[in-house]
């Protein structure tokens, strides 16, 4: 890797000016890592899978503004790649190409940028995608929080595959790929306001390979990645879309002990904590075993388990059977979950 040395340690407005300083920054920090053979402003691409009859193009975009930009288990770059890869994957697509646009605050350390870009390179390679185009802007101090990243992604959905929440039927089971809430808990601890120290790491990971495996093994009706608002929000959206009720079992929810601890101390509900590598999908009940086996054969699906099922009514409602067989509603999150002392 030919990493051109830059004169400065931090990003200045000159780096956003369009002149030589900017070209040097882009070449040294971004293109030399993402496209060592050279990068054009427009990527011209073709993949054989796109030409298959019945195949469809999948296209998604997302912006990433996480604070702190580096946290236990990852950084904003890792999330930016995994987030968009996962958006494509949960729609049933094989992720192919990503774009990456950066808005950088004046004064940001270049060494930080290099670490973020390296994270992105690693995740892209793991996911089997290429970062083929991008953009860089620099804004004045205080106009951005170090780095904002927007990634768009393109993938291909094979013929005959449709993942959509309105395909969920009564009796279908809900499966998650692992423990819930790690990312949200890790971020909360990393922000430092609550002065908690834990070893919890973000669950940030790509789910492309897992989705390929499970879609090949079972009829996946629908799938959502449980990002902001947690698993509860994903389930509420899906229930709304299919007009059925979803019932989950409190005893079936996989949770790390430390995440339970953070939630107990701060009075939070782990169902609403953000995830960055966790999804929930629905399959027909008689295909659950096959789906679980396929998921467990991948790195991201080791902890796969059934958490509930779709039922007749009331429409759009998500409920949870508690430890004692009592029932409570798991509602849509309103605003942000705030730590409480009551």
């Amino acid at each position: 890797m030919n990493m051109m040395r830059l004169k400065q340690d931090t990003v200045t407005l000159a780096h956003g000016g369009g002149g030589k300083a900017m070209r040097d920054l882009i070449e040294s920090v971004f293109t030399s890592v993402f496209q060592p053979d050279g990068m054009e402003d427009q990527a011209r691409l073709m993949d054989a899978a796109l030409q298959e009859p019945g195949a469809r193009l999948a296209f998604t975009t997302d912006s990433f503004v996480v604070d702190p930009v580096e946290f236990p288990g990852g950084d904003i770059g890792k999330i930016a790649v995994c987030g968009t890869v996962n958006d494509l994957a949960v729609g049933g697509a094989k992720p192919l190409w990503l774009s990456a646009a950066f808005i950088i605050e004046e004064g940001t350390e270049i060494a930080l940028l290099r670490r973020i870009v390296e994270s992105m390179r690693i995740e892209a390679e793991k996911a089997g995608v290429r970062i083929v185009t991008g953009d860089t802007k620099v804004v004045g101090r205080g106009c951005a929080d170090k780095v904002f990243i927007t990634t768009s992604g393109v993938g291909v959905i094979p013929a005959g595959r449709t993942l959509s929440a309105d395909r969920i039927q009564e009796g279908d089971v809900a499966i998650v790929n692992g423990v819930l809430g790690d990312h949200g808990a890790a971020i909360l601890a990393a922000r430092g306001d609550m002065m908690l120290s834990t070893d919890i790491q973000s669950d940030c990971q790509g789910l492309g390979h897992l989705m390929q495996a499970v879609c090949a093994a079972a009829d996946v009706r629908a799938c959502r990645d449980a990002t902001r608002g947690g698993v509860a929000s994903a389930l509420n959206e899906m229930a709304e879309a299919c007009g059925l009720a979803i019932e989950i079992e409190e005893t079936a929810l996989p949770l790390r002990t430390e995440v339970k601890g953070v939630c107990e101390i701060l009075g939070l509900d782990p169902l609403y904590l953000a995830n960055e590598g966790t999804l929930v999908l629905f399959v027909p009940e008689d295909q659950a075993e096959a789906a679980l086996a396929a998921m467990k054969s991948t790195e991201a699906g080791q902890g796969a388990c059934i958490i509930g099922k779709a039922k007749k009514g009331p429409k759009g409602q998500v409920t949870m059977r508690t430890l004692f067989g009592g029932a409570r509603i798991v509602d849509m999150l309103v605003g942000e979950q705030l730590p409480r002392i009551c």
Partner: protein
Amino acid sequence: MCLGIPGQITAITDPTRMMAMAEVSGVRREVNVAPIVTGALEDVVGKWALIHVGFAMAEIDEDEAAKTLEALRGLGEAQETLEAMAAGDAALEGRA
């Protein structure tokens, strides 16, 4: 203002300010132990306490905890006894 959680005191961190490290399911937070110090400060290490807003408010009495659980289990046994008695009655009356 009720959210308190049992945690274990693992070490003294600042004797002048009576601060110690408490641990709850692997999560650590520095807490003030003034309310539970009755003798030497170091004596609180290893004890379980009710943690609320950064203070160890009360020591958890292990004997009392055991007694409460005992009473609760007793309810279960009483229930089983009642069920056994009911089954016995039913058998006697030819209902079983």
